[in-house]
């Protein structure tokens, strides 16, 4: 087995033909040839099936062709020449192991799975794997779905997104800061296209407390507020879209800038879709070029979906718009955003009372160990408001 006769001329010609066909196809090396495909390609080298058969057999013997079965029909695919020479030096066990790893292709194969399938002595498998790895025929990759398991695949293959977890994984770990920055960038991009701003400057008086609840239009706020006073309740303040400029001058600056979001007329524009956002992200300089090239529309769509679930974006038609009142972090902003968000949570009737958040709510009952009279949370709650 060790020494093979040199590849015959016609065999070589057929191999070159097949390689060329494989490279021209979309699948590359994964391209499979059925018997009819080979017959068509081999019209020069072999006139009929009888002549073709030994040629194919020869290539298979030389490990230049890989034999497999698809839908009960035999089929062949090509292997690189140098891999073939390396393979031809392997022994039977190693060849078997190699063929399994090869079958797994971009997905890779677990070591344990390999041992189970090949049905040979586990030690022999480990040994074979070591040898193959040293020969740069296979490599070990980290699988995101099963980080503890060793996964192997052919050396020249790039692991699929299933294995690496996609752009948002860095060496098998979730890259949270990338997601965070990307989300912020998306919010910024979408925000700029979804609402119009008007800025009004107001003189800030020393004694005035921070502006009261919402007045939707700063121009008429004064007049209207007086009349429409009773309707403003806690719910309304959520819709307040005022922002205060966070700047060092803030304390000295006598004016406050109030930004009001104005809706754009309905059906007058197309809000950015996931594709549009993707093309924006990949063309800005905000993200490292190699990373940007790697990002797919599906991944951006995933980020956008998460933002929708977080109530930051909303879907309008085919595109997205930021939810009213959502702001992005200016670059370099180091404030504690979590704390800011935390204050905004108002909850509803149920969660405002202690009962809505009570850890022993289930135990609470008239005459029970916990009841409305003995409750400590009520006392605290009533004191807070007083």
């Amino acid at each position: 087995m060790a020494t093979l006769t040199k590849l015959s001329g016609p065999g070589d010609a057929l191999y070159t033909e097949l390689c060329k066909a494989a490279q021209n196809s979309i699948e590359g090396l994964r391209k499979v040839f059925f018997q009819s495909d080979i017959e068509q390609l081999a019209t020069d080298t072999a006139r009929d099936k009888k002549e073709l058969l030994p040629l194919v057999q020869e290539l298979v013997n030389h490990s230049l062709l890989r034999l497999s079965k698809l839908d009960r029909a035999l089929c062949w695919s090509t292997r690189p020449r140098d891999a073939a020479t390396a393979i031809s030096r392997l022994n039977a066990d190693e060849k078997l192991v190699y063929s399994y790893v090869e079958d797994a292709h971009q997905k890779g194969i677990w070591l344990r799975e390999l041992k189970k399938r090949t049905n040979i002595n586990p030690n022999a498998v480990t040994k074979a794997m070591n040898k193959l790895e040293n020969a740069h025929l296979i490599k070990s990759v980290k699988n995101i779905r099963a980080p503890a398991q060793k996964t192997y695949m052919l050396y020249h293959l790039v692991p699929s997104d299933d294995v690496t977890g996609g752009s948002f994984f860095d060496a098998g770990d979730l890259d949270e800061s990338l997601i965070d920055e990307l989300s912020n960038l998306i919010i910024f991009h979408v925000r700029m296209q979804s609402w119009a701003d008007t800025k009004t400057k107001r003189i800030k008086r020393e004694t005035t407390p921070p502006p009261l609840t919402a007045a939707d239009d700063p121009d008429t706020a004064g007049g209207k507020k007086r009349k429409r006073g009773p309707t403003t309740d806690i719910e309304d303040s959520a819709a307040t879209t005022r922002k205060y400029r966070l700047s060092a001058y803030d304390t000295d600056d006598p004016t406050i800038e109030i930004i009001t979001q104005l809706a754009l007329p309905a059906y007058s524009r197309a809000y950015p879709s996931a594709e549009a956002i993707h093309s924006f992200i990949t063309t800005t300089d905000a993200i490292r070029a190699s990373k940007a090239a790697q990002l797919t529309v599906a991944e951006i769509q995933n980020v956008v979906d998460v933002l929708v679930w977080d109530d930051k974006l909303e879907k309008i038609g085919d595109g997205y718009r930021t939810v009213r009142g959502i702001k992005f972090r200016p670059p370099g902003f180091l404030g504690d955003e979590e704390a800011e968000d935390g204050d905004k949570v108002e909850g509803n009737g149920l969660t405002q009372v202690p009962c809505g958040r009570c850890p022993v709510f289930e135990l609470c009952g008239e005459g029970g160990p916990v009841n409305a009279g003995s409750c400590v949370y009520w006392g605290r709650w009533l004191k807070e408001g007083a």
Binding site: A263, L264, P265, E314
Partner: protein, 648 residues
């Protein structure tokens, strides 16, 4: 299911009617329908006291009673819905206040407290003590003129005249407005019968009338029978409903203070009450309602108003106040066109849901919308109101917009400076187009707050209430989850709601979180009954390690869970009130002593006054919170109108 609800109802009844009634109610709630004697036995209360308690409960319509025939024992059973509705009184009074002004709210508040009332008695009550109304009447004009609902004529007249006492005519016109808007309804004799007995009686009547052989089996007969029952039900309901024609007092127009009315009419016209066109106040105030008419508050109608308010708030969250106000006006126009939240007698053609929804035109919306709202202010490119009234002003505005470099689509053709004086028609056209722009904005939103009917360009709009109701419920659940478990938990919940059943790895990849964190959230939410996992064993051994868990979020279940928790929370809040009162007992008792009462300022020490104030604040806070929770109950349970948990 009823445990939390029963507890709440008992607390509510104890609060409003006292311990005896509460105890009887509790016994009835526990045992179902009972006769007086068995009731007395179970409750261990003397028969005479039971009868007193039952009378009290019956007056408030908290107990239903029915006797199959003359002389047969009467069975009593609880009316869950009405018992719960005790908690809704404040919310309803507030709603009426918003829409119909303070007098109406006052009146509705009284009727609520009485359960139901004869018009004559009510009138007596108001005529006998007009002084008590004075202090409340004065500030009405200032505070409530611009409330959304106030544009229709009645409210205007009542608030315009608020500076003096409510007159007889005013009393009747307010009452009629309330009846017409559906807040109040006429009480018929059948209101106290349990629905099941009512159903039986109707069936019996139909059988006697149309099926003398008493055979109602078989598909054809069955459907005929059902149809006949519905026809009769509807007829009975219409008999019981208020109508302008039949319920006007037989004595009709009262001539006695006729001259007084004449001046009233003039005043109304001057005030512009007529301009609204819908309600002719002048004619109305001349007819008087029959004194024997018995009215009560229609809770389902009020629920609908609450739903409108809630939807408006929801729209406000996403599109801002001005658009929400337009939406509120649209909802209010629609309210008058829907019979009830859910009409079980409506013709059942579910294929054509679309056509059964009512619709309103833009001009109807414009009529009801608060004219002081600047419609142009919140949409880019719409001219502001000020541009309409004055030409030069508009010019200035134009420049202002120009500075921002904004594309102006609607405005260019319409915003040319106009001379004063012939603006009426143009104003109206602009106002309508502004309203249309707001409605389009609402339509465009992912929640589809409203829909234009049929072809583009038509002027009619409708609101898909069932779908929006689902949205509201989801939003409420989301808010609860967010407040309790935080942002990430909400993300997971919304993800599972949208994507269905998922394995934890899929959840992690969709939510872009680490599996470890996701697992913690999933388990926490499962522990609290918000998420559930379906086991999918890989082999017959069903080992946990060889099992897939598919996580899912069942909206209906969580909705029910939160509803029960809200009942419980309300009950606890109500129960806390006496506890707090106990803390301030000495002061309260002193303040209630006959020699102190009315002269608190001089008779009480400073610290005592402080304590009294604290107590009032605490009670206020607790009651306000009950109201809020009631709003939540309304949302989770009543808005769809399909809830059956309260039917007896």
């Amino acid at each position: 299911m009823a445990q939390n609800l029963a507890e709440l109802c008992i607390v509510l009844i104890e609060n409003s009617l006292g311990e005896l009634s509460a105890q009887i109610f509790a016994t009835l709630a526990e045992h179902g329908r009972l006769t007086v004697h068995t009731l007395a036995e179970h409750a261990k209360i003397p028969l005479r006291r039971v009868r007193t308690g039952l009378t009290n409960l019956m007056e408030e319509q908290l107990v239903l009673h029915f006797a199959a025939e003359e002389g047969a024992p009467t069975f009593y059973s609880v009316n869950w819905r009405n018992a719960y509705n005790l908690a809704r009184h404040t919310n309803i009074a507030e709603l009426v206040n918003d829409r119909h002004g303070e007098h109406a709210a006052d009146m509705v508040g009284n009727i609520l407290q009485l359960g139901h009332a004869r018009v004559g008695d009510l009138a007596d009550a108001y005529d006998l003590q007009p002084a008590s109304k004075r202090d409340s009447g004065i500030d009405t004009t200032a505070d409530h003129m611009t409330e959304e609902g106030l544009v229709n004529g009645i409210a205007k007249t009542s608030s315009a005249k608020a500076s003096h006492d409510m007159s007889t005519s005013e009393f009747h016109s307010t009452l009629r407005a309330l009846l017409r808007s559906g807040v109040l309804v006429k009480v018929g004799t059948r209101a106290y019968m349990p629905p099941s007995d009512l159903q039986e009686q109707i069936e019996e009547a139909v059988i006697i009338d149309q099926f003398p052989d008493r055979k109602v089996t078989g598909p054809k007969k069955q459907s005929e029978f059902k149809l006949a029952i519905n026809v009769l039900k509807r007829k009975w309901r219409e008999d019981d409903a208020y109508s302008d024609l039949h319920d006007v007092g037989s004595r009709g127009a009262i001539k006695r203070p006729g001259d007084h009315f004449k001046t009233e009419n003039k005043r109304i016209k001057v005030n512009g009450g007529h301009a609204n066109g819908v309600l002719h106040d002048g004619e109305q105030s001349t007819t008087k309602l029959s004194d024997d008419l018995v009215v009560r508050v229609d809770f389902s109608r009020c629920t609908m108003a609450m739903r409108s308010r809630r939807l408006e708030q929801h729209a406000k969250r996403y599109l801002g106040g001005v658009t929400a106000a337009v939406y509120g006006a649209l909802l209010q126009t629609l309210e008058g066109k829907v019979r009830a939240v859910h009409d079980d007698l409506a013709p059942d053609n579910s294929d054509d849901e679309e056509s059964t929804l009512p619709c309103s035109t833009i001009s109807e919306v414009a009529e009801i919308l608060d004219p002081t709202i600047d419609l142009g202010a919140s949409i880019k490119g719409l001219p502001g109101d000020k541009t309409l009234t004055n030409g030069t002003n508009g010019k200035k505005r134009h420049d202002e917009f120009g500075d921002f470099g904004i594309k102006r689509e609607l405005s260019d053709s319409e915003d040319e400076p106009t001379t004063n004086g012939y603006t009426g028609y143009r104003d109206r056209a602009k106002r309508l187009s502004a309203i249309e722009a707001h409605l389009a904005l609402l339509e465009e939103h992912a929640r589809h707050f409203c829909k234009r009917t049929r072809a583009h360009g038509s002027n009619e709009w409708r609101v898909d209430f069932p779908a929006l109701n689902a949205t509201l419920i989801e939003a409420e659940l989301d808010a609860t989850i967010l407040a309790r478990y935080g942002k990430l938990a909400l993300r997971v919940v919304r993800l599972l709601r949208e994507r269905g059943k998922l394995e934890e790895k899929q959840v992690a990849s969709c939510a872009m979180m680490r599996i470890k964190d996701v697992r913690a959230i999933l388990t926490e939410l499962q522990f609290h009954g918000i998420l559930e996992a379906q086991e999918l064993p890989k082999d017959n051994a069903r080992q946990p390690s060889r099992t897939l868990y598919l996580w899912f979020f069942d909206t209906f279940r969580v909705q029910h869970l939160f509803l029960q928790q809200t009942y419980k929370g309300m009950a606890r809040t109500m129960q806390r009130i006496p506890v707090e009162r106990e803390r301030y007992r000495t002061v309260i008792e002193k303040a209630e002593r006959t020699d102190v009462k009315g002269r608190e300022q001089e008779k009480l020490e400073q610290p005592e006054k402080q304590a009294l104030r604290e107590w009032r604040e605490a009670e206020e806070r607790l009651l306000a919170q009950v109201d809020r929770m009631d709003q939540m109950v309304a949302l989770l349970r009543d808005f769809s109108g399909k809830d059956t948990s309260l039917t007896t």
